[in-house]
Point group: C2
Chain length 231, copies 2
């Protein structure tokens, strides 16, 4: 693999925060913004999908999309016939995108309707998506996209063959211009509202999974793999 296509930069220190820019400093709620690298990574790594935004014919388009993080790079894949990936390949020097990942952690009920909110963690990444052509980087990205959903799974499935690789576009978005935004804690009612007779607090949301459902045509001798237990 060439130096330029190495997906992980060894010189990147996780302790160094990302640098805010004009478009990653929010116009509202600045106290909730963060550029902490480990926080950003953890929010991204917990997600099954992102919402990918791009501009088509002057109008915004937002599509749920599988993705993966490999070091300081995000990868998105799809059919070579899909619109955003086709645009990323056709555009020079790439396609401006905004990639957003959000987790909803709780419902925040305040005494006042105005202060109702949700507890959440999100990362918003701005940048230019470029098509990955290096075969090694493409394979790393495709494995990572499988492992983003089920860690360890890429080693326990048939890798893409030549035909499948030819049908798959991979685009890369560097983690460079981005911010996290996090809300935690209880409601922020106005002091004058504290004596109102309404319940106030947080409803924590939970996320989990049920027992794996084998495919109808699965050989019953094949047990559910151990890595499903750590989801």
């Amino acid at each position: 693999m060439s130096e330029t296509s190495a997906p992980v930069s060894a010189s990147q220190e996780t302790a160094t925060p990302y640098t805010p820019t004009g478009r990653t400093v929010p116009s509202r709620g600045r106290a909730r913004a963060s550029y902490d690298r480990e926080l950003v990574h953890s929010i991204l790594d917990e997600a099954y999908l992102c919402h990918l935004g791009f501009v088509r014919d002057g109008a915004p388009v937002v599509l749920p999309t599988l993705f993966a993080r490999v070091g300081e790079r995000l990868y998105v894949h799809g059919s070579t016939g899909s619109r955003p990936l086709h645009a990323a390949g056709a555009a020079d020097p790439g396609l401006p995108v905004c990639l957003t990942v959000t987790h909803v952690d709780g419902l925040v009920l305040a005494r006042s309707a105005f202060h109702h909110s949700i507890n959440y963690r999100c990362v918003v990444v701005h940048g230019t998506a470029v098509t990955v052509t290096d075969p090694d980087e493409r394979r790393i990205a495709l494995d990572a996209i499988v492992d983003q959903v089920v860690p360890g799974r890429s080693r326990d499935s048939r890798p893409a063959d030549t035909k499948e690789l030819a049908a798959t576009a991979v685009v890369r978005l560097d983690l460079d211009e981005l911010s996290a935004k996090v809300r935690t804690g209880g409601p922020n009612d106005d002091p004058a509202d504290l004596s109102l007779p309404y319940w106030a607090g947080v409803v924590p949301l939970t996320r989990g999974h049920a027992a794996p459902v084998p495919a109808d045509d699965l050989d019953p001798a094949i047990p559910a793999p151990g890595y499903l237990g750590s989801l």
Copy 2:
């Protein structure tokens, strides 16, 4: 309320599907696309937030945003100082947006890496967000946004006062040009892969909530309201 600001169109029949357009017919996976009105409503109504996309300085921006559906209209609110809402008010005749809601229902593990997928339901709405100025429609929208998160809650909290209303922008997006996309079921492995020794199937994802956590300063005599039990 004036006729034009009525948020629910009584003449709208839920049995009538939405009309596909050039940008709501997907370039890939057309078999998964749907324009069924009840399906679209159910996907929207189950969500705590949407991802709102708009264009700023020529580049896409995607932000997680609270919203609500009232009949055939979606409402988004926010500070009058927030970027998209300010843009919607400043722009004439409104701000082009794409509003997307996605639920992840399961992880689909195929024998081949290529056929890994997720089961999901999403709605993608295209249109122009316009600022709502009618006071009655604004109140209906704000109540609906609270009730979108916790049904019934708007009647059990202090309504917005004049100052709060002045600080809150409400924008509307009509449900007109949109599509749903749904994937269900097991993996779609190639016949040649069925005998491979890899587990295949679906990991269903679950979503729930933990016991409500009262605010630290809540009067202990106020019990958790019954509508929290139906979340």
